[in-house]
């Protein structure tokens, strides 16, 4: 039986919900607003919220100074590439852990997660030397590889959690019908885990898109993605707030739009198995 909720309670929670949402969203809103200000208005005290002279000059300046499209394409290739490659490795790995566990499976999972506990800068020089010798510095393929490795533990963990919710009996039935291992994974498991795989995919694209350590340190001019595009507009000596905001807005816009359209999928995937 549904509990009766008074209009007043509902209203209160709605207002609180909107307030929390606004507070979380505010920094992004402020960045977008600042990108339409002049450099002088961007630092004005008291800050001007909406009533300033709106200008698009920062966008013009940013586009004339740097090649947005090149950075954008690099971001797309790197984030998509690393996520797809990661899924290719992680789906069989998560299958093995979820449906054919051994007594060491838990340890392996924990060990995989422990690779995320070392700060990335700790392995910067070894990775840099390996990349130098393999000719991977400033290449997209190099970044795809390193981001795949960086995000693989998260992908495996997420998929493992989703796969565990799928009854093993269904897979067993497929096997009894004569499905090979590959067919079992591709035709039976994957379609059933689509919400989980989709949310893993989306989350990892976002993580790879925003990754700003390896993408800055392993690139120079050719493979630099949007993170490097943003970094070129920050300065400790000189005012670049408005231009920096314009660059940031341009850099986050694609991923924000993608998140907007796929939010239902994202939320469904993230809460998958949480309520039963």
């Amino acid at each position: 039986m549904a509990r009766a909720v008074s209009t007043r309670t509902r209203l209160t929670f709605t207002v609180i919900g909107w307030l929390v949402g606004f507070v979380i969203f505010f920094p992004i809103l402020w960045t977008v607003l600042t990108s339409f200000k002049s450099e002088g208005a961007a630092i004005a005290t008291p800050p001007q919220f909406l009533f300033f002279e709106w200008t698009a000059e920062n966008y013009v300046e940013v586009n004339s100074r740097s090649d947005y499209l090149k950075h954008f394409m690099n971001s797309v290739v790197i984030s998509l590439g690393s996520t797809l490659l990661g899924l290719l490795i992680a789906i069989p790995a998560a299958w093995a852990m979820a449906f054919a566990p051994t007594k060491r499976t838990k340890d392996v999972l924990l060990w995989m997660l422990s690779t995320k506990m070392l700060p990335a800068v700790g392995v910067l020089v070894p990775i840099y030397l390996l990349f130098r010798d393999a000719g991977l510095l400033d290449t997209r393929i190099g970044l795809v590889l390193v981001l795949t490795m960086a995000n693989l533990p998260i992908i495996v963990w997420m998929l493992y959690t989703y796969f565990r919710e799928i009854p093993g009996d269904i897979l067993e039935a497929a096997r009894m019908d004569g499905a090979s291992l590959a067919k079992e994974i591709i035709y039976v498991l994957t379609p059933m885990a689509v919400p989980g795989i989709a949310s893993t995919l989306l989350l990892n694209i976002i993580l790879a898109w925003n990754e700003a350590f390896w993408t800055l340190n392993l690139t120079a001019a050719k493979a630099a993605p949007l993170t490097a595009f943003i970094a070129s507009y920050s300065s400790p000596e000189g005012l670049f707030w408005a231009k920096l905001s314009a660059a940031s807005t341009l850099a986050i816009a694609p991923i924000l739009i993608m998140g907007w359209f796929s939010q239902r999928q994202l939320v469904r995937g993230l809460t998958f198995g949480a309520v039963k």
Binding site: G40, A44, V125, Y128, A221, Y233, S234, S235, P236, L239
Partner: protein, 435 residues
């Protein structure tokens, strides 16, 4: 028709061949006005040298420093030209990480300002060419000084600055007598405080590399700074760096600001600054000991030893730091936008003196700083507002945190100094000094 087609094919094949032969230089630069202008004007260089193509990597100063240091230390060879400061040049040159720069007579190397040239050379050889140089000086509000019945001398003393700052301060109307850096960092508050301490007779190390924070000169300098900031500084000064103070000064909240000479063009630009027509300039203060509290920095272009294209890289550097480039900027964007602080000839140019009213004090400030003899007493190191040893970034920032905490009132001056002394001693011993 066929002949035409053949001719066209030959032409495009030739174009491709030329393009294939062209050398591409990857240039790492910092994000500041002068560097961005160079990128815009670089077309003039590639027109003259069609066999050289340029690729730019612009990064924020600290990101750039980390990035190029990784690359040069591992001989990664990602960059053919790096923008580095006066801090890196002596260290990297000693490691043989940089290619010595030898330019022809038309470059006129003797025209470079002696203080800047000295900071970028080792044993008389130039390892980086200065693109723009800066010192620090006092920027002040002429209107507020007039109201308070004060007159700023061209070369003020610290005592005068202290007195004037307290007199101007009117906290009720948010006017603070002086804005100074307080944010912790070797290139933030320690740049200012090290230069200031030099004028108080303090130094980082004695000739045996013993830290000197237990000496009375440091105590006097730090106590003066903290008292002054408590009496006449803005609230929350311990988190203010260059940009925060710039914003405060431009919005009319500071009576004085002692910082980089490059700020002069920002605060006197009416598009950005509300006080553009009320700003005056003076040399950094002194204590009558023969040294002024101003620093010296030059963003310079250098060729890393890992580059395969050293000749093309040197050609570009010679162009970008030449008199010819200054003339090009003057022609395209006016004399006020010529990169300052590198060449004597620029300061002798009447057109420049007229366009940049702060030119005279900038050159005097730069000349007043000597990186090879920065302090009242002798020191074993090079550098005015830093000590050019690899360990300094870490130590400088740790000491900066102690001093920033003292400014925020979290510790006393004595406590901050004794912590600074202990940590510097520990780090220097670990690093194997004295060497």
């Amino acid at each position: 028709m066929r002949a035409n087609f053949l001719a066209m094919m030959t032409c495009s094949a030739m174009t491709i061949a030329v393009a294939a032969q062209a050398e591409t230089l990857t240039i790492a630069t910092v994000n500041n006005g002068d560097m961005i202008r160079m990128q815009k004007l670089a077309g003039a260089f590639t027109e003259k040298h069609p066999d050289i193509e340029l690729e730019w990597v612009t990064l924020e100063e600290n990101v750039l420093r980390q990035r190029v240091t990784t690359d040069i230390a591992t001989k990664g060879g990602q960059y053919d030209i790096m923008t580095i400061g006066t801090y890196e040049v002596p260290i990297w040159a000693a490691q043989n990480w940089l290619v010595p720069l030898d330019f022809g007579p038309e470059y006129d190397v003797d025209d470079l300002l002696p203080a800047i040239r000295a900071g970028l050379s080792m044993d008389g050889t130039l390892y980086a060419a200065p693109f723009y140089g800066e010192s620090s000086f006092v920027m002040y509000r002429k209107d507020l000084f007039e109201e308070a019945g004060l007159e700023m001398p061209e070369a003020p003393s610290w005592d005068f600055i202290g007195e004037a700052a307290r007199k101007i301060t009117d906290k009720d109307s948010e006017i603070y007598g002086i804005c100074l850096r307080g944010k912790a960092g070797w290139g933030e508050n320690m740049a200012f405080l090290t230069a200031m301490a030099n004028s108080f007779g303090a130094r980082w190390f004695d000739m045996e590399w013993n830290p000197q924070f237990d000496q009375p000169e440091w105590k006097e300098a730090l106590q003066f700074y903290i008292d002054l900031m408590n009496d006449a500084g803005p609230p929350g000064a311990s988190s203010n760096g260059f940009n925060e103070n710039l914003a405060l000064f431009q919005t009319g909240k500071c009576g004085m600001w002692i910082d980089a000479t490059v700020a002069a063009s920002f605060v006197s630009n009416p598009d950005e600054s509300q006080v553009a027509d009320k700003v005056g300039f003076a040399l950094a203060p002194d204590k009558g000991l023969g040294k002024r509290g101003n620093w010296l920095w030059a963003w310079s272009l250098a060729v890393p030893a890992g580059s395969q294209k050293t000749d093309a890289a040197k050609t570009f550097i010679a162009w970008a730091t030449s008199k010819e480039y200054s003339a090009l900027v003057a022609e395209e964007e006016g004399w006020a936008n010529v990169p300052p602080g590198t060449r004597t000839s620029l300061y002798e140019n009447p057109a420049y003196q007229e366009a940049a009213p702060f030119a005279d004090l900038t050159i005097k400030s730069i000349q007043a700083a000597d990186p090879t003899s920065p302090t009242v007493e002798d020191v074993p190191y090079v550098g005015v507002q830093f000590v050019a040893i690899p360990e300094f970034q870490g130590i400088g920032t740790a000491v900066g945190q102690q001093f920033s905490a003292a400014l925020a009132g979290q510790s006393s001056v004595d406590q901050a100094l004794s912590n600074a002394q202990a940590l510097t001693q520990r780090e220097m011993q670990k690093a194997g000094y004295p060497k």
